[in-house]
Symmetry: C2
Subunit: 276 residues, 2 copies
Amino acid sequence: MKVITRIADLRRLRRGLPEPVGLVPTMGCLHQGHLSLVRKAREENPSLVASIFVNPIQFGPGEDFIRYPRDVAGDLALLEKERADIVFMPEAVEMYPPQFDSWVEVGGPSGRLEGASRPGHFRGVTTVCAKLFNIVQPARAYFGQKDAQQAAVIKKMVADLNMNLEIVTLPTVREPDGLAMSSRNGYLSLDERRAALVLYQALTLGRGLWEREERDAGRIRREMTRLIQKEPLARIDYVSIAHAETLEELARVTPPALISLAVKIGATRLIDNILL
Amino acid sequence: MKVITRIADLRRLRRGLPEPVGLVPTMGCLHQGHLSLVRKAREENPSLVASIFVNPIQFGPGEDFIRYPRDVAGDLALLEKERADIVFMPEAVEMYPPQFDSWVEVGGPSGRLEGASRPGHFRGVTTVCAKLFNIVQPARAYFGQKDAQQAAVIKKMVADLNMNLEIVTLPTVREPDGLAMSSRNGYLSLDERRAALVLYQALTLGRGLWEREERDAGRIRREMTRLIQKEPLARIDYVSIAHAETLEELARVTPPALISLAVKIGATRLIDNILL
């Protein structure tokens, strides 16, 4: 496994890789969710590149860029074990030299939910993905369903700009009690860790109502909201039932629909979702 | 020579093309300026793709998209003669289906001059170029120095987003009397055609002053402006002496500098430039 920090070095190595190449872009601090992507990519492609890059331009002012968890040594050990061929781990200035000023902006799904709560977030995500795709030239790139909106936005970018790769999304990996795996779970105190369960409970409640033929999205949102509000450590950012691709809010629930939510547990903002 | 209108068909054909591929993106109505690009691309690459696409998203409201000159039959005859392998000629809806909403935006040089006079213009140019580059996957794409700012913006996009191609710019081709070749010259009446010479005359005056050691950019701009104002059919949009890459206006002239101007001759807006 080669660890590469320079774009030029990656390009050189890239030429010698057997096709097709699978890419797993990450911000590091890898958990089982990431590893499920890495394993799938390893299975489907003769060559596997993983990137570790805490992308500054997708964090807003006041967000957790500085304290975002990092564990490079642990990440490299895990990726070595999963037989990654290359780990790309650039410094921020390598990706964004001082004159950098070109951006990929996706409309539609990127304005809602996370995009509304975190202005500029998806512009940072799509721009770094465009760069990584151009640098690594993968045939497939792997993303987790946990960040459902991110996956929808990236798929839209790839389709609209005719990029030459397939975006593969894999199911959210959960702790035994249902909490979605996230690098940000590490921020939680013991009390908060328990309170964080309310996200998955609310999603399960929503799905349950839908399975019992409830089609009124407003009613499902209200029931979910009520459940979350019973948890004193939780503060709702949004509870959404939306079209799974456009992310437009639904009045009546019809598949493909995405139930998603963002909830602050203490100081930690968590997101989760399930597809109907 | 194959004429292709569908992206999927182009992708299929593209796989069989010997590498590297040269791309000449055009809006059609080809003149000697385009042909110099086509010939260079033919010379430098085993495979040559030319595109003809009057790109609606780079025209502002009230600009000349509808009446922009078109001559597909003439263009195809010229490209056949230059031994293009493929001509890509999509309809607008093929490039921009109804849900299309992803954009490449370049800051810096794209805000000035043409960007200031034509808001959104360069966003349209960079977005269509990103799409064409992704569809055709050329090793080199060829642009005329006549659109110097366009070339600077595209080069910046390619560098910032790590796109895998080289942007080649070739010198402006001129009529015997100095007028830069442009598809828009066809709009000019006989009187306007004569008046249009003032663009090149002003550029020549500017260069002459520089060659005679004038370094005060303001003085050169003023002399050029005075010359153009003597022409009753001409109305100045801008006269600029700027850094050739950033396009920031200079106070003192030092190479690499670009003298550029945009002048309306009657209803026709023309641009031209020379590099110092």
